[in-house]
């Protein structure tokens, strides 16, 4: 790591960073600061900052019942999506880690959700979950209006998202499993470990680096879920699925209140940032490279 002497400052490595930093500056840093700037204003119908209100947008949000509901809904949504998506991916990956006939078929089908766009999946689910003509009610013999019932709508959207995310998780976990040295299992068998013991003492620790990465990516992805919510529920019924990202979209591109939308973006950013920091703390203890 220390091939270059510390006393001699060398500029050339920094030049290599310029293209990357330029792209970041245009697409990330500038919008980032602009968003913070906008969040301090009321904006007109063109999205132009008009009236400076300071922290008022934030105060309004934090005292609004609707936004608190959004926070709650988002957290429930993220927990279901992350836990569900990772469990599905992990189980599928462990099952497919053994060689048996038809393995390719199973691997492909478990990885498939990765290839489906969230919006197309949502449209398929919309028909499947339709109370009158949908296959779900027909097969279960039920008469539930899944997407228009405040008690079920959030779970439907979350489970769909979990399934969608499980595809890429399956791929990560499969790769992670492939990296675990086979011989340690043999040694464990000799020592008389059962398969459950092997899974918890060998497989899980062996997967921990990839698991950590998957967790971080999954959480961030879950916070960003949008297409399926816009198509399936539009935040309803009665705000039961009004996650923050959807609420931001609504405020910005439907109500043309970019100020409030920007403030929500900043709050969401802070939440995701905090969660990420906490996870890196945990990483130090739980992850063995």
């Amino acid at each position: 790591m220390n091939a270059v002497k510390k006393s001699k400052w060398n500029a050339s490595p920094y030049f290599y960073l310029v293209p990357c930093m330029l792209v970041f500056a245009v697409f990330l840093f500038y919008p980032f600061f602009k968003t913070i700037f906008l969040s301090l204003f009321l904006t007109d119908k063109m999205g132009q900052a008009k009236v400076f209100v300071g922290m008022q947008n934030y105060m309004d949000l934090l005292t609004s019942e609707s936004f608190r509901n959004s926070l709650k809904v988002t957290l429930i949504f993220v927990v279901i999506v992350v836990v569900g998506g990772m469990l599905l991916g992990l189980i599928a990956a462990v099952l497919c880690n053994k060689a048996f006939p038809g393995i390719r078929f199973f691997s492909t089908s478990y990885a498939l959700p990765m290839a489906i766009a969230s919006s197309s999946a949502a449209m398929i689910f919309e028909i499947m979950l339709h109370p009158t003509v949908g296959i779900v009610n027909k097969m279960l013999g039920l008469d539930i209006n899944w997407l228009n019932n405040p008690d079920t709508a959030l779970y439907c959207v979350a489970i769909l998202t979990a399934w969608l995310n499980s595809g890429i998780n399956f791929l990560y976990f499969s790769a992670g499993l492939g990296n675990i040295d086979e011989t340690i299992y043999e040694r464990a068998s000799v020592d008389g470990a059962g398969s459950i013991q092997k899974f918890f003492s060998l497989t899980l620790p062996g997967l921990s680096p990839i698991m950590f990465y998957t967790l971080v990516v999954n959480i961030i992805q879950a916070f960003q879920s949008f297409g399926q919510i816009k198509i399936l529920t539009e935040g309803g019924p009665d705000e039961a699925t009004n996650v923050i990202v959807y609420s931001i979209y609504r405020d910005a591109f439907f109500n043309y209140r970019f100020g409030s939308a920007a403030a929500q973006s900043v709050i969401l950013f802070i939440i995701v940032m905090l969660i990420t920091l906490v996870m890196f703390r945990i990483e130090k203890k739980g992850v063995s490279y």
């Binding site: 840093f29 919008p31 228009n148 971080v216 910005a252 439907f254």
Partner: protein, 463 residues
């Protein structure tokens, strides 16, 4: 260690992209606004003579997908082939109405947008206030066009201060669709004309008519507006926002909203009208599958419904119901109209106007009506053979025409700067009330409070 750094970088990038994704668009609009603001004060532009426009190309933005989009493309290519002025129209599908309007805002940066754009009816106030447009009236006057060719009730919606601002193009009215077989089975000969009347025959339809539900009534803000119009009451103050921009809603004080919500809630409580979802189409599937006996929908849904029902039962159409039988009022229209944008180019303006004239010609409108089920905006379209064939095939459409002619232009509907938001507010409050989270009084109060504060903020920042 290296891994740590990589993963930290990765996560930071991901988290930051979260923010950027949200902020990016507003930024575009932002930079656009500064230059767009000057264009707002642009001086009037006159049309060039029709002979001078040879080789002019204009861009037409629309929001018609699917079957309707194909019909538009057909009309455009007909115009491109047939017009004698050498005008070429490029039509571009810009997504749903909301999306198209958003794109228009971004595009107005340097007049990079369209020459003609289709905007939904609730965007009317926004377009008038935008300062980007040339009122249709100006071209009508310059060209000596006879406006009486246009259905008066349709033109009335887009006429403000005696000026026709935009040309009605795809207009629809709401209708009540009912399952005639169920009505016959239940022995009901008189079709109800009000929610009250529907409630009275609810049990008959369920027990004798074999209906699974009486009415699949989707929670749709447009229906709420129509129920107000059917009571003859205003949605907003200042003459429904037509004399001057509305400063507050009127439906709370005139009692109209409460009447609607009480009737709705009562239908729901008795199990006649369960929640089927939000938006205009949510109630249609239950009706087409033979579950519900009655549904409300746009005239533009007629063809779809008949196709889905496919002869399983006879579909009847009736006037959109009022709240009580004693109500006196009328329906207004939905759909969209065509707006000419001011691009400071007399030739393009003339080309745009020629294209508009073509689109509302009896021939085009008869074709358009037959293909889509939207209302023919030109009276003379009803004389076209295409129209006559269509009405012979779908006699139900006659109800829509009669209903519009029976309705007086005074029930033309409101104009509101924040209409799309107001509509969404109305929908979510109705939903909340039906779910038992609030009473009808609370729902009305919440609607009024939310919409009024939106109007207030809008007028504060858009002086």
């Amino acid at each position: 260690m290296k891994k740590r750094i990589v993963s930290v970088l990765l996560t930071t990038a991901l988290t930051a992209s979260l923010l950027a994704g949200c902020g990016g668009k507003s930024l575009e609009d932002q930079s656009g606004a500064q230059e767009g603001g000057d264009a707002a004060a642009a001086e009037a532009v006159e049309m060039a003579a029709a002979e001078d426009v040879d080789g002019t190309e204009i861009t037409f933005w629309h929001s018609m997908g699917g079957v309707n989009g194909e019909a538009i493309d057909e009309l455009v290519s007909r115009f491109n082939e047939e017009n004698e002025y050498g005008i070429t129209v490029v039509s571009e599908f810009q997504g749903e109405y909301d999306d198209a309007l958003n794109k228009l805002k971004s595009a107005q940066i340097g007049n990079m947008g369209a020459d003609l754009v289709q905007v939904y009816e609730i965007g009317t106030r926004f377009m008038i206030d935008s300062g980007w447009i040339v009122p249709m009236q100006q071209m009508i006057d310059e060209d000596g066009y006879d406006l009486s060719q246009i259905e008066p009730n349709l033109a009335a919606y887009y006429t403000i201060d005696d000026q026709l601002y935009s040309m009605p193009f795809n207009s629809s009215t709401p209708l009540m669709y009912y399952n005639k077989d169920m009505f016959d089975k239940a022995g009901i000969t008189e079709v109800p004309t009000s929610l009250e009347g529907i409630e009275a025959i609810g049990d008959q339809l369920l027990n004798e008519g074999g209906a699974g539900e009486v009415m699949s009534l989707s929670i749709y803000g447009w229906f709420f507006e129509q129920f107000l119009g059917k009571q003859g009451l205003d949605y907003a103050n200042n003459g429904n926002g037509r004399e001057e921009a509305a400063t507050a809603v009127a439906f709370d004080e005139n009692g109209g909203a409460k009447n609607i919500l009480d009737a709705w809630k009562s239908l729901n409580d008795k199990g006649y009208a369960p929640i089927v979802g939000k938006g205009g189409d949510a109630g249609l599937a239950d009706f087409s599958s033979g579950k519900s006996a009655i549904t409300l929908g746009s005239t533009a849904s007629l063809k779809q419904i008949l196709q889905d029902v496919n002869g399983k039962f006879e579909v009847g159409t009736a006037y959109f119901p009022s709240v009580k039988d004693s109500d006196e009022g009328g329906v207004s229209i939905g759909g969209a109209s065509l707006w000419a944008l001011n691009n400071q180019d007399p030739k393009k303006l003339r080309a745009t106007w020629e294209f508009v004239k073509f689109l509302v010609s009896p021939e085009s409108q008869a074709y358009w009506n037959a293909q889509t089920g939207y209302f023919p905006v030109t009276v003379a379209a009803q004389e076209e053979q295409v129209f006559k064939d269509n009405i012979a095939q779908y006699p139900q459409f006659q109800t829509a025409i009669d209903q519009l002619h029976d309705s007086s232009p005074e029930y033309v509907g409101a104009l509101l700067s924040v209409f799309s938001e107001a509509r969404a507010t109305v929908e979510s409050e109705i939903e909340s009330m039906l779910n038992g989270n609030e009473t009808s009084d609370e729902a009305v109060a919440n609607m009024a409070e939310t919409i009024n504060s939106s109007i207030e903020e809008y007028s504060l920042v858009n002086e």
